[in-house]
Assembly symmetry: C2
Homo-oligomer: 406 residues x 2
């Protein structure tokens, strides 16, 4: 009998208990053993649930129970999750989590502690909900040097951009719809400003490149400045606008890690990821491009990944050396303005002649009162200088969005 504890009974936590009940016979067949949720830790009471007797409020009961070998941490937030996870590990228990804030902030410390106590710390559900990403990257692409990762890692923003494109909705209207449908929080900043996607790409960058990439060093730009006009002009030029999280190797052992809107060619499969779906494109030096796609959030998809981690731990209960990454206290992220990119730009109060004097070879999309065009490739620093040059001549920049050439 495998006995587990679940820390937290929110959306994901209740999903974990439900999935184990729903697919119990199939799961037990795989495990060749029985599985039982012994404890659920939550400060609230749930007297009406059929498993109300499993709720406890005192974490130390779990910590001290030798029967518990696997703990699912699905509370969210860094505290007190971090303290609980470290105490589980020190009691010889493996931990699985869906908590992206915890993994992004404290992953290196937790992984080091797990190594010391020879237990596992798994976090498949922390990026991309139910989409298999962490394990395929680590186990299936292990013969590759991973060079680049591009992800649509936030369902809320992808839903909003899809609605803008398909239904010609403005950003505020699409955001309101997302809130009505429960896809966006009442305070949506974490999603729409790119912070959520940023934590996830930091986790993927850490795993791919072997050193902890702290979110504080990674740049995040959201979609709140995207106007319907940009979406339509991009479409006209053969592109879709997506919020893209990217991680790449740069020079001098540095990494490029940031989140920002980008124009992607409509021919690229990543541009076809719609609504609340997420996807990650991973480029390996042997396999080329692979893409993993699915529901990146939600109760059941996320619970699917948490329970898969529990099953993996229960079936192969043994410390997996080599999984994870090393601590890294220096800033290994290259300033994002040094990264090269083509740009989609929209100006007013200037002539095409003035623009061409500054940007040289451009691909004009719109010419009239406003001028929209796509530039050649240059750094963000050069872009700023060119923009200042035009602004000094009276031009007004309305939009500047990177073009991602995959």
């Amino acid at each position: 009998m495998i006995k587990i504890a679940v820390l937290g009974h929110g959306v994901v936590g209740s999903g974990v208990v439900e999935v184990i009940e729903k697919n119990k016979s199939a799961i037990e067949k795989k495990l060749q053993d029985k599985i039982e949720v012994k404890y659920i830790l939550d400060v609230r009471d749930f007297p009406d649930l059929p498993y109300s007797d499993k709720f406890i409020r005192d974490f130390s009961i779990i910590e001290q129970d030798k029967e518990i070998k696997v703990v699912a941490e699905v509370m969210g937030g860094v505290n007190p999750a971090f303290d609980f996870v470290m105490r589980c590990i020190r009691s010889g228990k493996s931990v699985v989590t869906s908590n992206k804030a915890l993994v992004a902030e404290k992953g290196d410390i937790i992984l080091a502690e797990a190594k010391k106590y020879e237990v596992n710390f798994f976090f498949e559900a922390s990026v991309g909900g139910g989409i298999p990403i962490i394990r395929p990257m680590h186990r299936c692409l292990s013969a590759n040097e991973i060079t680049e990762i591009y992800g649509i890692l936030n369902g809320t923003t992808n839903f909003i951009l899809t609605k803008m494109l398909q239904d010609n909705m403005s950003f505020p209207d699409a955001l309101e719809l997302a809130q009505q449908l429960g896809y966006a929080e009442h305070n949506p900043a974490d999603d729409i400003e790119g912070f959520d996607a940023c934590r996830k790409i930091c986790i993927l960058a850490s795993l791919a490149f072997g050193r902890h990439v702290h979110p504080q060093y990674a740049f995040a730009e959201g979609i709140s400045a995207i106007e319907l006009e940009d979406v339509n002009l991009a479409r006209k030029a053969g592109y879709e606008i997506k919020l893209i999280a990217q991680a790449r190797k740069a020079k001098d052992n540095k990494l490029i890690v940031f989140v920002a809107p980008a124009l992607i060619s409509s021919d690229c499969i990543l541009s076809q990821v719609k609504d609340v779906f997420n996807a990650v494109l991973i480029r390996g030096n042997v396999v080329g491009d692979i893409m993993l796609y699915g529901r990146g959030a939600g109760k059941m998809p996320t619970a699917s990944a948490v329970v898969a981690d529990i099953i993996d731990e229960a079936m192969h209960a043994r410390y997996m050396p080599g999984f994870g990454w090393e601590p890294c206290n220096e800033n290994i992220v290259q300033p994002q303005l040094e990264a090269l990119s083509r740009y989609f730009l929209r100006f007013k109060n200037c002539s095409l002649f003035q623009i061409e004097k500054v940007y040289k070879n451009i691909n004009v999309i719109l010419e009239g009162e406003q001028i929209a065009f796509i530039t050649e490739c240059f750094s963000g620093i050069e872009h700023c200088k060119m923009q200042e040059q035009l602004e000094a001549a009276g031009a007004e920049l309305l939009s500047a969005i990177r073009v991602l050439d995959l």
Copy 2:
């Protein structure tokens, strides 16, 4: 030091040796050990290769060498691969393979032998080349009951269909181009008649549903009857034509497993898989739909998956119980004509009035000398009866293609 043997030095076999050399330092860092290809079995000589001293022609040298713990079988074909694989297993060696014919034909027997000898038999590369499919299905979706699988599992046919759609090429012209580019064999029947995709979907069905699905029971229909006109009419109605391999649960413990061309809505991500790329859409009862996408064939992508299996085996050298499926000698595949589907049909020598009398509610795409339309959902058997009814009245059926509603 991990010493391995590679059986076969064809396209994939040479790729395996190259990948290990190319990424040796990264692989050894993961393994925390050295890795070396000790033997390469091939009947041919390769005197000019830097590793020509590794070639042997006598399999029993590998069989008897206790240093060899992992063998990569990349010869292709059922014989003599099957004999060699069984002998490796009986000598206590784990085997990894890219050989889809072997896994589809003999998977159950090999897995049973591997279980008996407590060694592993891995075959990530046998389906979808470098795309992680087998391990994500087994390890990451383990909390799910998998209900349906839909795959574009053959790059050659997907390339041909893409060329027909994008460049308005006829089937024979697109096939010729595929042959010129090396995507299609001189004798392309295995690809274009769907047999290759059929072996792959049988492997996925076996893994998902736990019982061996023998290719002899699964129906395969290729793309050689698809005309450019069908591709264009489908596009007009909002669909793309793809060669789809599918596996689903049916009634009475039976399975639906077949390969056939199908119209897929242009809104579905699977329809956006172009050129030689492959993709598998897997539907789980908890996670919903996930899709795995990438290069489904080719030297380096396939070698990427073979070497990942070698690394997995070397890192976690321990028998993995619960991976694989049970033997099944009965035919568990439902006759494909019993499966329900909407159909795209194209007739000549009949009137819309005659068609509507037989098919009732239809969605007309073309009306004129020819009539093209999409029907409601019915079984293949009903479809045959309706077709006969119209043919008895003088109509001629020009095309009949399933519509896949995902």
